[in-house]
């Protein structure tokens, strides 16, 4: 490539290729759109369009009677919403409690998964004998199909035939009655353990990938200056992983808040209130009572909440990085 001499060459290569790509000689302006078309088409047809219809459904009285002929369901205005947010009624009260359960669940699962993933990634950062094996072992829960892992836990949480109670009461000789893990308040703990078991390897994977981009010279230099490991983690690892963490925490938050698989496979048709995550709650509210208008209204509220939290999160994160 020839470089024109007038301008500093450092800037040139970054500007030039973009210019060129804007109008490639062999193809027209439509080329990127043609390349994107299939992706746009499928995402519009399978996700965006149904979601818009779903939002419309939240404004009609779509009950069992109209499900075969849903075009003729009467308009409901905001009736579905007012039932949903009337916290004195049974529907509103159970939705609110489900919402709080989900909030607590999400904070604990994302927080603990991130901590475990971070600890494992840092500990495996340096080469040592058996590292590859340990890393492979840690990734197994992520590689297992969702339902297979959860079903194994479901077996372990059985009251009389499960491994957990056997370990606590027969091996460790904890006194008292064996609890039910999948019924009642303990179901929250059971669900929490399963969800963390599934999610932390993902945090580990992402953080491990992120750590690879931190040059080891930085650590060596700081060690020469007398930095202790804790200090190194706080002053080097954490700031340099920030771009990874921003995406990682957001994605884990959205997945966990929308988690349907864990309660569905773990509890099946019994729905303990302590394990009633919001996606599971809405699914049951829609498909057990066949009141889809109400279910759609709940989903729209959920979507608005997630949009709000995501928006605030991104604003806070961006502002902080600008200040720094």
């Amino acid at each position: 490539m020839s470089v024109t001499t007038v301008e500093p060459p450092a800037q040139k290569p970054t500007v030039r290729p973009q210019r060129k790509n804007r109008r490639p000689k062999s193809s027209g302006w439509w080329m990127p759109y043609a390349l994107l078309a299939p992706a746009v088409m499928f995402v519009l047809a399978i996700q965006v369009l149904p979601m818009v219809i779903g939002i419309c459904m939240s404004f009609i009285k779509l009950t069992k009677a109209f499900i075969a002929n849903w075009g003729s369901a009467p308009a409901a205005g905001l009736a579905n919403y007012s039932i949903t947010v009337d916290f004195n009624s049974a529907v509103g009260k159970s939705l609110l409690s489900s919402f709080f359960v989900t909030c607590g669940f999400t904070v604990l699962v994302v927080g603990l998964s991130w901590m475990l993933g971070m600890a494992a990634a840092v500990v495996l950062q340096k080469q040592f004998w058996g590292r590859g094996f340990i890393r492979t072992l840690f990734l197994i829960p992520y590689a297992l199909p969702v339902y297979a892992g959860i079903i194994a836990w479901k077996f372990m949480f059985q009251k009389d035939t499960g491994a957990i109670n056997h370990f606590l009461f027969d091996n460790l000789h904890v006194g008292g009655e064996k609890p039910f893990w999948l019924i009642g308040d303990s179901s929250f703990v059971a669900m929490l353990i399963v969800a963390i078991w599934r999610l932390w390897p993902f945090a580990f994977l992402m953080l491990m990938a992120g750590l690879q981009s931190i040059p080891s010279e930085v650590y060596e230099a700081s060690a020469v200056d007398g930095a202790k490991p804790w200090r190194q983690w706080r002053s080097i690892t954490l700031p340099m992983l920030k771009p990874v963490n921003v995406v990682l925490i957001l994605v884990m938050f959205l997945w966990t808040f929308n988690d349907f698989n864990t309660p569905y496979v773990l509890f099946g048709n019994s729905q303990p209130p302590a394990g009633d995550l919001i996606a599971f709650h809405i699914y049951n509210a829609s498909f057990l009572t066949w009141n889809f208008g109400l279910g759609a209204a709940m989903s729209v509220l959920l979507l608005l909440f997630l949009l709000l939290v995501t928006g605030i999160y991104l604003i806070v994160v961006n502002r902080r990085s600008r200040r720094a």
């Binding site: 193809s27 990734l139 197994i140 079903i151 929308n258 979507l303």
Partner: protein
């Protein structure tokens, strides 16, 4: 490098705790799959009273596992191939072109991660039913509907990861191919794709795992004819006896191909993540 005792103790503690936490369910799954039925119906034991492979034989007849298995393989493979092709074109556009609507596209595609599945599950179901009524194309109770649904689930992450990967491949490679007479698609297929192989493998594994493990849509969109493993495995517990040993055997069998594939190719996966947004 010298290490303090504190660091070593911390490392051993973290590895031990996490290794036990990770391995116990896997251990229970493996040992229970080799237990006779009386072992899993009585109090739990850490080791089978006798080792038997009967659950691995019986599991095929308790529920029609083989047909669920074939359905899952077909749905996941088709969704993976289609999603990979679509993601390759889209990521190439994202990586190599500046165009109007670029940022709108990337925002929209990432924000689909936010959509609660339950919100578009029923409308999608109704759309499929209406398409069937209008054109005769059957999407509910066949694999087609599941395939096109699943391919959109893995698209956002695939595009994001592949675009990052393509960014790491020098533009000069495409330019050289164009000088040699390739069009943009020719440059993509002949030059960029071979260079992006690790990224493509990573994205393919991710798509396959997404489809293989999806539960919610499978539970609504499948009928007896196209039931996949995600739903099929749960049928063991609706039998009059809960055959936990067979459930564990079946879980093991459906997990092994995907776990082995993932673990063998994990390096590609990490490389793909590093090249993607994780920088």
């Amino acid at each position: 490098m010298h290490e303090t005792t504190g660091v070593k103790v911390f490392r051993v503690a973290v590895i031990t705790v996490l290794a036990i936490f990770t391995a116990v369910p896997v251990y229970v799954m493996i040992t229970s799959s080799m237990k006779p039925l009386r072992d899993v119906q009585g109090p739990f034991t850490w080791w089978p009273s006798e080792i038997t492979l009967a659950p691995f034989v019986d599991m095929w007849t308790t529920v029609p596992l083989a047909s669920y298995f074939i359905n899952s393989v077909m749905v996941a493979s088709a969704a993976t191939i289609l999603s990979l092709i679509i993601a390759v074109f889209a990521s190439y556009a994202m990586s190599r072109y500046k165009f109007f609507g670029r940022s709108i596209f990337s925002t929209t595609i990432l924000s689909t991660q936010m959509f609660p599945g339950v919100l578009f599950l029923l409308p999608l179901f109704l759309i499929f039913v209406n398409i069937n009524a209008a054109t005769g194309i059957q999407l509910v109770g066949t694999m087609g509907g599941l395939i096109i649904t699943y391919l959109t689930f893995s698209l956002p992450f695939s595009i994001w990861m592949l675009a990052g990967y393509f960014d790491g491949i020098p533009h000069e490679l495409d330019e050289a191919a164009k000088v040699d007479g390739c069009g943009p698609v020719g440059a993509l297929v002949r030059v960029v794709l071979p260079a992006a192989r690790p990224g493509l493998i990573a994205v393919a594994i991710f798509s396959f795992m997404t489809s293989w493990g999806e539960v919610l849509f499978a539970s609504v969109m499948t009928t007896e004819a196209n039931r996949t493993l995600a739903v099929g495995l749960q049928l063991y517990s609706t039998q009059s006896d809960v055959y936990w040993n067979q459930i564990m055997a079946a879980s093991l069998v459906v997990s092994i191909p995907i776990v082995v594939a993932f673990l063998l190719l994990q390096r590609n996966f990490v490389a793909g993540l590093t090249a993607g947004g994780v920088k």
